[in-house]
Amino acid sequence: MKKTILLVDDFENTRYVTRITLRRYGYNILEAADGLEALKLFDGRKIDLLITDQNMPNMDGITLVEKIRSMKNYKYIPILLLTTEKSIEKKRRAQRAGITGWIQKPFTFKNFTKLVQKALK
């Protein structure tokens, strides 16, 4: 069965390139422009991985992650956070919110897909 990945980023260009890359690996892609929009997609459908940006209007990445971790059906899905942050302190905070791993921006696609594949394992 094809794995479904939800991409959340307010920047259309980022979504576009990541979408194209991931499709090539045979994943189903869902998209949302911010946390609120993304949250609506967690309506019971199958989502195997969430990749979300941190800084977005309406609802930021960490808040989205916290909300998802409190949902019964999506509690344990892997979540990758796109972030420019480097400080361990911030990373640790994101982890407490429930992220599985983070992708340091800017990223190479090789590295990006490697992390995605690993998270989906």
Partner: protein, 671 residues
């Protein structure tokens, strides 16, 4: 693959046992050339096949031993005590390698390495011109110490801890020590992780790969390189790990210092150890007892066993009849017990004779490989259901016909790559080999996606050869059947492979002799399929004993669907030979009428519904007596042509019951 491996192990164990006994003889006759030659052969054979099955170490070892015996063969070397010792030790090492090819047992590993060094040293001594320098494997590996200290919320973050360990396992050899993290208070919450792990990892992969494994938990682990070699090889290192573990907290710096400090010690001790081991070996090394999974038995003995079981079954039937006729309950009890035992005995005896088709697969694969390259055809041999088990006699008898069919497929069926391209087919032809069980039959299908058989050519050829007359109109199916006629061969040019005029007719005869059937279907440019159906077992079947007039008949249980009753007048009213059973209209065969037996007055008739190629057919009989273990006996030459009755069997009272071949009966009378 696993199966091949097992067979290799079986064969290799035999070779090694032979080797051992030869060695014991050669000790007394060190000049026996024949024996030397034999030992050399064993080494040579083992060397050739072992690496193929993933036993590279056996390959390496036997390679060196072969060298030694090559010297002896050429007279450059005499059998000495030293050589005998080495070879005898090698017997034990080889045996252990068969069980533990990866040297997972540390003790064995070191004894293997010592032995290997000994052989190398010896060879380098006798052959000074070409010294063999063995790369030291120890240097390629490094030992890492990893501490993985996950936060208690790790499970809530979607991190898969198991996959972390799986990945560690993939890159090397490791020892892991889990501990409970006493600092976490909420130990009772099952969603929290309150464990942490210490891992010793030996790998030849760079440290980056370890980092990759822990990428999602990169704040929760540390990795330290302990050494540039495989420390697991040092026994006292392992001891030391255990000791360290007993202490409360592990200090990596201390551990490193310890290792640096102890390296010299380790090496010195190692030398001591090697000495000890060599001494030990001289006394006779203790090896684990080898379990024998398979034994080889003379097939005559198996046949005799089958005969005895058959006799036993017949005698049991007599006994149960006496008990029944004389109303002796005690005897009935015993007879019943014996019956149950006889069934088990029978099944067991059958089982012994069963072998998976896979065992013969190598022959076919070899054939495909050799022949296709010889003819310049590109093809793939695809198998399915090759674990299906068949009576060994059947399989043996089947091998040649199957080889012939596959040959035909490669030679006549599959086109040359260029031709296939023109037809818009994949350059690579395909031959499917499928085996499956259906009722009491084993079905083997060989299918190719080749050129198919041109029925026109077949017909012309048959007419030309005078096999059929020109004015007969035949269906495609009938034309295809012509290739089973004696003296039929369609190959345009006679190759070494097929087309020698002995062909499909011989195949068909072989199959018929085994009470089997062969069918062919073909479509031009799409391919040909040949299907062989054989009764699974040859000598004893479970059957339903029925009575028609005064004669007993046996219907194999496997083909029976259900039993029922029907009013006689209902049959009389049906003139299209169909009856209604459970709201279904099914054809019936009135056995009494078919066999032209006298009619007895009955108001109801008994029905046995049998399955025929996924359809149901009813057989009308006078009486259903019950289940019977039928020991099948051939009918003799006179009845060889009888199609409906396949065999006979003796029932308890000494009467003879005839075994109905339901497939042929239905085919003859209905379809």
């Amino acid at each position: 693959m696993e199966d091949f491996k097992e067979r290799f192990i079986e064969d290799a164990s035999e070779l090694i046992s032979d080797l051992e006994s030869d060695l014991l003889v050669i000790e007394k006759e060190p000049k026996n050339k024949e024996l030397i030659e034999r030992i050399f052969r064993v080494m040579h054979n083992l060397k050739g096949v072992s690496a193929m099955y993933g036993f590279e170490k056996i390959g390496k070892l036997t390679h060196h031993l072969e060298t030694i015996y090559d010297f002896i063969r050429d007279g450059k070397l005499q059998i000495s005590d030293k050589i005998l010792n080495i070879t005898l030790n090698s017997v034990d090492i080889l045996r252990n390698l068969l069980e533990d090819s990866e040297l997972s047992n540390a003790e064995f590993k070191s004894s293997y390495e010592d032995f290997f060094a000994e052989i190398l040293e010896f060879i380098n001594k006798i052959d000074k011109k070409n010294p063999i320098v063995e790369k030291n494997n120890r240097n390629k590996f490094s030992t890492y110490y990893i501490i993985f200290f996950p936060e208690e919320d790790i499970f809530l973050r979607g991190v898969n801890i198991f996959s972390i360990f799986e990945e560690i396992d993939e890159i090397g050899e490791f020892k892991v020590f889990p501990h409970i993290n006493e600092e976490i208070e909420s130990k009772k919450n099952p969603l929290n992780c309150f464990l942490f792990w210490e891992i010793y990892l030996v790998t030849n992969k760079p440290k980056e790969e370890i980092d990759d494994i822990f990428i999602f938990v990169d704040l929760e682990y540390e990795v330290h390189k302990l050494s540039n070699e495989n420390l697991f090889l040092y026994e006292n290192f392992n001891e030391e790990i255990k000791k360290e573990l007993l202490e409360e907290k592990i200090n990596i710096e201390n551990l490193k210092i310890f290792i640096e400090h102890n390296k010299k010690k380790i090496l010195i001790e190692e030398k001591e150890e090697v000495k000890n081991k060599i001494n030990k070996k001289k006394k006779g090394f203790q090896f684990s007892e080898q379990k024998t999974k398979n034994i080889r038995v003379d097939s005559d003995k198996l046949d005799e066993l089958m005969n005895l079981v058959s006799e036993f079954v017949i005698t049991q039937a007599e006994l149960s009849l006496i008990a029944k006729n004389n109303n002796i309950t005690q005897l009935s009890d015993i007879s019943e017990k014996i019956q149950k035992l006889s069934v088990r005995l029978r099944n067991n005896a059958f089982d012994i004779r069963l072998v998976p088709i896979r065992h013969k697969l190598v022959n076919f694969q070899r054939l495909v490989r050799d022949l296709s390259s010889e003819l310049g055809k590109d093809l793939e041999f695809i198998t399915e259901g090759v674990d299906t088990e068949v009576d060994k006699t059947i399989l043996d008898q089947l091998t040649n016909p199957l080889i012939h069919i596959i040959r035909n497929s490669i030679d006549h069926g599959i086109e040359f790559p260029e031709e296939r391209e023109l037809k818009n087919k994949n350059r690579k032809g395909k031959i499917f080999f499928k085996a499956m069980l259906s009722n009491s039959n084993i079905i083997i299908q060989i299918e190719d996606d080749g050129a198919g058989i041109d029925t026109k050519i077949i017909q012309e050829k048959a007419i030309e050869k005078g096999l059929i007359s020109p004015d007969v109109i035949l269906s495609n199916k009938e034309i295809l059947e012509l290739i089973f006629l004696p003296g039929f061969s369609t190959a345009k040019k006679i190759t070494d492979v097929s087309g020698r005029g002995v062909g499909m007719d011989v195949v068909k005869k072989r199959i018929s002799n085994m009470r089997g059937e062969i069918k062919i279907s073909s479509k031009i440019d799409e391919g040909t399929a040949i299907s062989i159906s054989l009764p699974l077992t040859l000598s004893i079947v479970d059957a339903l004993l029925v009575k028609v007039s005064k004669t007993h008949f046996l219907i194999p249980i496997n083909s029976i669907n259900s039993c029922d009753e029907i009013k006689l007048d209902k049959l009389k009213n049906s003139n299209n030979k169909r009856l209604i059973l459970n709201d279904k209209l099914i054809p019936f065969i009135h056995l009494r009428k078919e066999f032209e037996m006298k009619k007895e007055n009955e108001k109801t008739e008994k029905i046995v519904v049998i399955d025929y190629e996924e359809k149901e057919v009813a057989l009308i009989v006078d009486d259903i007596i019950g289940k019977h273990q039928a020991v099948l006996k051939p009918l003799g030459d006179i009845y060889d042509n009888s199609t409906i009755i396949s065999r006979a069997s003796i029932i308890g009272n000494g009467d003879i019951a005839l075994v109905i071949d339901t497939n042929k009966l239905v085919k003859k009378l209905i379809y």
